[in-house]
Structures are given as C-alpha cells and as structure tokens.
Amino acid sequence: MATTEATVQERRHAAARGQESPGGPQRSTATEPGLAARLAAITPGGYRAGAPPASEPTAWAVLALLGAGDWMAARRGCDWLAETQAGDGAVGVRRRQPAPAWPTALALLAWEAYHRATGENRYHPRIEHALAWTLKTRGRTVERKPQIGHDTTLVGWSWANNTHSWLEPTSLFVKALTANGLGAHARTAEATRLLIDRLLPGGGANYGNTRVLQQYLLPHVQPTGLVMWALADQEVEDPRIEASLAYLAREIEQPLGSASIAYALIGLAAHGRLPKSAATLTAAALARRATVGSTYKLALLNLARQQAQNA
C-alpha cells in the first residue's frame, strides 16, 4: 500500500483538528497528585523497580502523566523515546536493544498525545518517521491450514521481525495509526479484521490463536483488554465484542496481576463499561509490592484510575 508522507501528514492533522485522541486522555482528569508524582519520579523507567528504562513502560507513563497534567514529566519521557528512535524510524524495546521494535506503536501514541495535550508539535518528524516504518512493517503470513482456526493470511503486526502477526502488537499499531489520523488506512482496516478474526467464539482472546488441532484455546484478560481498547475506535460490529466485554467484566473480579487489571479496565472503559469496582481494584493493585517502583505497572494503573475517575 503506497501512502505518501503528505497523505499521512494531512490525515493526521485532520484528526488532530476534529477527533478526540484515542491515544491520550484529553479531558481534565481528577488527578491524584501523589500517584502522578510517584510516576513522574520514575519516568523514563522500566518494567520493575530498579530496572533500566524501557520503551513500553516509558510510553505508558507519558500517557498517564499527560492525563494527570504533568507535561514536564511527560516531555521527559517523550524525549527519551525520541532519543531511542533508530535511524529507520523504529523504537526498540530498550535503547540498547533496537530489535524488536513493537514499542514504536506506543511511542507514536505518546508523541501524538503530547502534541494534542500541549499543542507543541515538537515530535512531528519523529512521528512521520515512525509512521513510515510502521506502514512498511508487516507480520508474516502463512498459507491457511485446517489445523489452525484463524485466518493466517491477514496482515497485522508481529512482536519480532519476520514473524506472524499477533494480537497485542496489532492492537497497539491499530491504536497508534488511528490516533495519528490513519484510522481509514488499508493497513488499519485489515488489522482490524485480524483483531476480530482472532476473537474466541465465546468471547475473549489470547495472544492470538483461536483453534488449534480442533480445540479452541483459552482466553486471557490482558490481550482481551488491549483488543477491546483498539476496537473501540473502529466501526465494527461482531457479537464476539460484546462477549469479550462480558468476559472482561467477569474476569476482572477474579485474582489478577496489576497489568491485567489495568488493561481490562482500559478496554472496558473504552466501551463505556467500567465496573463499579474499578477504583477499589486499582487501589489494591497499587498497594502490591510488585507495583512499587515499576514504571510499567504504575503507569498502567494510573491510566486505569483516570478512566475510572472520568467515567
């Protein structure tokens, strides 16, 4: 699919004028200064306390900090992501680990959200470069086989170069393209079909397999939450979406890790289905030992709480 830089730019600017950002919260949130300050202090940051900065946690932190109104800390995260961007436009998982580069999607969301929140278009060249990389990057397809239930010919995005498309990276890139004005792009449309195709008949999704050797696989909360978040921006109808939201609403009341709680709430909130227990669940997760000092978990829970407070 040939998409010129000019077209990308035009669509993105049109989106910036007229649409609410799906990538970053726009409404003024009932912020929690203590929580935001804790996050700001460890941005850029990593997956766990004391770990070196990584792109995914830092990008989620930018989105959460923008929601909390801490633009300075958000800019620090955006700058770190910009410095991590490689010459080909991709943003690797860590500064010294340029491959794989699926966090490019999250960097796109962070930079776009910063632009939308502050009006400063300082990351424009970064965004254009990352979009060009994104559009030329394709998950690997394989011939359809009777042993595999999903449509293996649909193109989305993979975790690592030259491997099959899976749900979480595809959800993130669908979200990133849509936030940057490319919601109508052919790649976004095909990837959206992929997201629907990989939902389990009874609701929910796992990493991206449906049926293998005649048996349907188990759903998991985190990928289901991410897919629901991505699909909320798309004009699609499928009974599996409602079934997936019902799955999330059921499962979030079960014991879960902090990230799964956050992704479930973000996915449910995107469809206006936030449970009453949202604040309680996030508060409990924030108190866990594994959350303390983790930029990743603190950012996700911050975002989930913002969703709950805005609901």
């Binding site: 990593g46 997956y47 766990r48 770990a51 070196p52 990584a54 998982v93 860590r94 680990q97 794989p100 690997r140 042993q147 993979s158 975790w159 690592a160 030259n162 491997t163 099959h164 899976w166 979480e168 796992n206 990493y207 293998v212 050797l213 048996q215 696989l217 188990l218 998991h220 909360v221 985190q222 990928p223 014991p255 879960l256 890790g257 902090s258 990230a259 799964s260 594994a290």
Partner: protein
C-alpha cells in the same frame, strides 16, 4: 515422599565422551562429581526415577536422593547461584496439571538451599505477558512468598547473547536473560506432558521458557519460525550447566501442552543428562525417543537417548510404563512405539 528403600545405586559415576558437551559445563563448575566428567565411551548416563510420589509427600527427600543418585556434588553448591526454571507457559486455575506444581518447586529450593546455594525461581511464560497473573493462576507466586523465595521475570530482564552452539537452526546467536546467564546451575523443572506439535515436552523443551519474550515475543514465534526441534536442540547446546527435575506426579496427556487431560503418574525424575531424562520420560509415555525430532538432534552430542546408554537409578522405567493418549494426528501417531510395546 522420600524413597530411602530404593537404594539408588552408587556405581562409579562416569560420562560418555560425546556427552561432555552437555555435561562439561557442570563438570567444569565442579557441580557433578569429577569422575563422571572425565568420560568413558562405554558406560551410560544415570537417570533417577521415583514412583509413588504425592505433592503432599516428602518431595524434598526424594529430590535429594535423586540428585545424589545422579552424581550431583552438593559440596560444590555452597555459595553458588541456582536458578529453578519451572514450566508456567500459560497458567490457568482451570488447568492446574499444565504447570509445574508449586510443591515441587519449593521442595527443590529447600534441597539446594540446604546445600548452601542461593536459589531464585525464574520463568518467561511463553503465552502470557502478565507474569504476575501467571504466578497467581499457577499458585506459584503464593508458594514463593510463603517460602521466602525470589522470582526473576525472565521475559523482561536485560539480555545478553551467546553464539548458537547447536547450529541446527539458522539462528546465529541466542539471547538469554541475565539471571539465566549468571546462574551457576539452571534446573529445568518441566511438567511431564504430551505436546501437540513435537510429541513430548520435558526438560529440553522447557528451556524455551528460559528465553525472554521481550526478544522473542509472546508466543516465542522467532523460535517457531526457525524450527521447533532445531531451536530446542540449539538452546540446549548453547546453555551450559543445566540439569532437570521433572514433575510427573500429575501429568498431561492428549492435547498438551495446554489443553490436555490430567493423567496421574506419581512420578519424579532427575538427571544431569537432560536428553537422557527426556528419552526415559518418552519411553514411559509410550513414545519412541528416536522419533522425537529434537531428541534425535540432541543425541549423542548433548546426551544419551538409547536405552542401553542410560542407567536407571531408583525405580526402573519399565515398571512405570503407562502409555499417554496422544491426538489422532499423523505427525503424532508416528511417534508411538509399535503396538504399545516398550521402547527399548
């Protein structure tokens, strides 16, 4: 339950020259008895089996017996770093027989700690990114908290690469988390399961979970695209200092490694020659080790898979033989021993 009555044979330990690659790292580190590492072209690899085991029993006692019977030298473990690597590929509270039981992990930790080692449990779940949820669903997180054991999330650690010493796949290097590379001894702790692509998953295949998702994805599709048997053999050829302890108490047959049904076996298996342990487990399941592609690639360079080259210590595998149900797929049925016969 401990098995003092099994009287593990204390025959002079030794190693086949060809298995030096696999166990050479252990010997160099002094973790297995020196005579074992000096090599022999004529004597088999020891594999310890214990039947009649229960999760509520004295698992630590049995594992201690098994490790001693397979020539681990406990005196050399003092002050060493031991990484226990269970199988938590896709934990679900609805399928507890999918993952290594917490009681086996805690018991292994007790044994190695008792010998003066520092113990960390580490895993990179292959199908789920939220490792915290994997620990909750499997019950392992709670057990580690109770036992005061640290956990290393191998999916997100910083990584370093080693040259691919197996060269069965096109991968030039293999990336490992630092906890794996810094360990003096890695203990692969698989669940005894069928596998719907490669037949059986045990000590060797379990090391897929020692590789970081942040490099290879969820699932670790880089490995799949480069050939499952080939990459299993490569990982095992590249990673030094690995032994295995198999949780075969409640196993999985049929559509393993995720959705199969529970098969009680009451079995624990231990060995420093990982292919030899895997081959023995395959025989117990009624599968022919020489038809399991990654075992065929591994032998004899990484270890022994011929029955005549494996010395059973503790219980013999023939007494434990109980064929596992496998899916009615041609690529799996061809792995079966002919007419349900013992695979010798």
């Amino acid at each position: 339950m401990s098995s003092p009555d099994r009287n593990p044979r204390k025959s002079e330990p030794w190693i086949d020259r060809r298995t030096t690659i696999a166990t050479g790292g252990l010997a160099a580190a002094g973790l297995i008895a020196a005579p074992y590492a000096r090599g022999s072209l004529t004597r088999p690899s020891p594999v310890f089996l214990a039947g009649g085991q229960r999760y509520e029993g004295d698992i630590a006692g049995t594992l201690r017996d098994g490790l001693l019977a397979t020539d681990l030298n406990p005196e050399t473990l003092r002050g060493k770093r031991v990484l226990l690597k269970p199988n938590l590929v896709e934990p679900s509270r609805r399928v507890p027989h999918m993952t290594t039981h917490p009681a086996v992990i805690v018991a292994a930790a007790e044994v190695f700690r008792g010998w003066g080692a520092s113990v960390v449990v580490g895993e990179a779940p292959g199908h789920v990114r939220d490792t915290e949820t994997a620990l909750i669903e499997s019950g392992v997180g709670e057990a580690l908290d109770d036992g005061g054991l640290d956990f290393a999330d191998l999916n997100y650690e910083q990584v370093d690469s080693l040259r691919n010493r197996g060269r069965h796949s096109p991968l030039k290097e293999i990336f490992f988390p630092r906890s794996v590379l810094q360990a003096d001894l890695v203990v692969s702790m698989p669940k005894m399961k069928t596998h719907h692509w490669v037949g059986v998953t045990c000590g060797m295949k379990n090391l897929y979970g020692a590789l970081p998702g942040i490099k290879y994805g969820w699932p670790k599709n880089v490995l799949h695209h480069n050939g499952i048997p080939q990459t299993v053999a490569d990982i095992n050829a590249t990673l030094p200092r690995v032994i295995t302890i198999v949780d075969g108490i409640e196993c999985m047959e049929g559509d393993g490694p995720i959705l199969g049904t529970m098969k009680p076996m009451g079995l624990l298996a231990v060995g420093a020659d990982v292919p030899a342990v895997d081959a023995t487990i395959a025989r117990i399941m009624g599968l022919d080790p020489k038809r399991i592609a990654y075992l065929r690639l591994a032998a004899p360079r990484l270890g022994q898979i011929e029955d005549r080259h494996i010395e059973q210590r503790g219980d013999g595998w023939r007494a434990l033989h109980s064929p596992f149900h496998i899916l009615d797929e041609p690529h799996l049925q061809q792995l079966r021993a002919a007419d349900g016969q013992l695979v010798t």
